[in-house]
Amino acid sequence: MSTLELRGVTKRYKKETVVDNVSITVANGETLVLFGPSGAGKTVLLRLIAGVVEPEEGQILIDNQNMTDVEAEHRGLGMAFQNFALFPHMSAFDNIASPLTVGKRSLEEIKTGVDKVAKLLKIDHVLDHAPRELSNGQKQRTSLARALAGSPPLLLLDDPLRNVDAKLRFEMRLELPLLLDAQGATVIYVTQDYKEAMALGQSIAVLAEGRIEQIGTPEQIYLTPKTLEIARLFGDPVINFYDVVGQRDETGVFVELSQQRLLLDESKAKCVDTPSVLGIRPESIKFVPQNSSNSIPITIEAETPLNEKIVTLAKTEGGREMLISRPSGTAGPATGKAFVKIDESALLLFDQVSGKNFVDPAQLNTEREFAA
């Protein structure tokens, strides 16, 4: 296990700043996910930590030792790549053995080390194959095995599940945390799949344009995203956004959607008289059997099932689109007119100009923590 600390790390290519003043601390044995859309600087940041790319500014500390100017081979870490980066001219065995061939290990020790990690990843039967003879899944496992072989205290995983099919990705998503736990390593995991981020990360750092936008637990990111963009990136189907202006009367703070009042708690009071964006997660909209005082009438456009969910695209009377999601197997209308109710406790409100959440996630960190 290792701790990792980045202090004001900045990387520029020509005049473009791809990593902008990033500071992160990762505790011993923690898994930190670097999440962001492509081009956000995740991969460059990972390479900076690995030492194969040099930062223009800032420091990289591993176990409180300044590693900024230390060559990659002396940082003692393991890394897996999105494109697997297997050595095409070496067998799977030699690929996995590559971190073990440094120093004075006997052939016997190398073989034991490779066999152990190969067994763990269930590729012990293909060790004599060249990379081109491996299936995609086996390549991916070989590349993970190579990263793990030297038992590095710090593991860098660059979107390792990106290039495998959905089924395998799902399997690995469940399997990987166990593997990483067994290693006891501190892990930096890069991904642009929000499900992977939430499943694997003890904390998630959301990157956009080289800057860290938010760091938090999966709960914090999903329930109190700092910006509209983060809310958009987490969740499938995507969150619904509506331009609104907050109002206040004797009943409290509210916004109006389709002539229906949605009451807000006081923490969102800043939206009053301010152009705002209302965010409603598709799963917090529920179908109700008939029109009632607080329901919204909608017209269903299409029903599109999605992995154990049923997603419905509907339009409000004002012609605004609304995505609604409900668990598979639960009843709901498939066509025509229907009524929905919105869970007011799950509403998000953002400043229309800055895109910032009116509720500061930092203030809620302790309150919103789950029992888990």
């Binding site: 194969v52 060559e71 790549f81 980066a85 050595f87 971190p99 081109r132 390549k139």
Partner: protein, 285 residues
């Protein structure tokens, strides 16, 4: 569209044959010439009816050239050896210098690196005569004129840019991630260069080496100006067959056959290796 009928197969074969004949005919004709005497070569119209003779080859190997007018001494085998030595030594030196340089240009983009690389390439398209006159003067002064060392040095103008530019492309095609992976596994940059970059660029290095070898072998002008008879390669040596008593077509043909034989053999041998290496492909993992 995807069905291939018999007729198509036949037509395709015929077309291929035509192309092969078109390209191979000159070599084939020269080979025939090398087995003839001047008289049969110069018949009009030309014919492939003749009595094959090995006297042209014999003359080249013994170094005694019998013409109708006189007997001449020609040191063709020395020329052949010069060609082999000059080409091999030049290409070796160019590989030794060019491959690491190509790697540096491919992997470390520094300020002006592109300009330096381009300047090196520009040596290829400057007319050789431009540099020959000053060079021969300098070489005279430095004592490099008519030495192997001087020629090998000048041959770098031909070999180095070729190797640098071809090999650089191959290095650039290797995903940096593959090298990063080896570095992170605990290996120094030099060992990464040796164990990863070199083997993966192997086919490219071989191709560049082969090409440089052919260019060096075929060079004429540098050797003509900077070397005298005992250091001259076959390209220049062949001039000796244009004698006072006429042009010795038979011997020229034999000389050509003997001088293309090594390059041809090398190319055929390397081809197998090149194809094998390229099919290793999957450099991008």
């Amino acid at each position: 569209m995807e069905h291939q009928s018999k007729l198509e197969t036949v037509l395709r074969g015929a077309a291929l044959l035509l192309v092969v004949v078109f390209f191979m005919f000159p070599i084939f004709w020269i080979f025939l010439m090398s087995l003839q005497t001047n008289e049969t070569i110069l018949r009009v119209p030309p014919s492939i009816n003749f009595e094959p003779t090995l006297r042209n080859y014999k003359a080249l190997i013994t170094g005694k050239l019998e013409t109708s007018a006189a007997s001449l001494e020609i040191n063709f085998l020395q020329n052949l050896w010069n060609s082999v030595f000059l080409s091999v030594a030049s290409v070796s030196l160019a590989l030794l210098l060019g491959v690491p340089a190509a790697y540096a240009f491919a992997r470390h983009k520094f300020k002006g690196s592109e300009d330096i690389a381009f300047t090196l390439l520009s040596f290829r398209f400057a007319p050789p005569l431009l540099v020959l006159l000053p060079l021969s003067l300098y070489f005279q002064k430095m004592g490099l004129a008519n030495t192997y060392l001087g020629l090998i040095w000048v041959y770098q103008l031909i070999c180095l840019p070729l190797i640098l530019w071809i090999v650089r492309g191959y290095f650039e095609d290797i995903s940096p991630d593959i090298e990063y992976a080896y570095r992170v596994a605990g290996h120094s940059w030099f060992s990464t260069f040796r164990k990863i970059a070199l083997p993966l660029a192997g086919p490219g290095i071989a191709a560049a080496g082969l090409l440089a070898f052919i260019f060096a072998w075929n060079n004429f002008i540098f050797a003509l100006v900077l070397a005298s008879a005992d250091k001259q390669p076959v390209t220049v040596g062949a001039l000796a067959f244009i004698t006072a008593s006429g042009i010795q077509y038979g011997q020229i043909a034999a000389a050509i056959v003997m001088s293309i034989a090594p390059t041809l053999a090398l190319a055929l041998y390397a081809q197998k290796y090149l194809v094998e290496g390229l099919s290793l492909g999957a450099v991008k993992g």
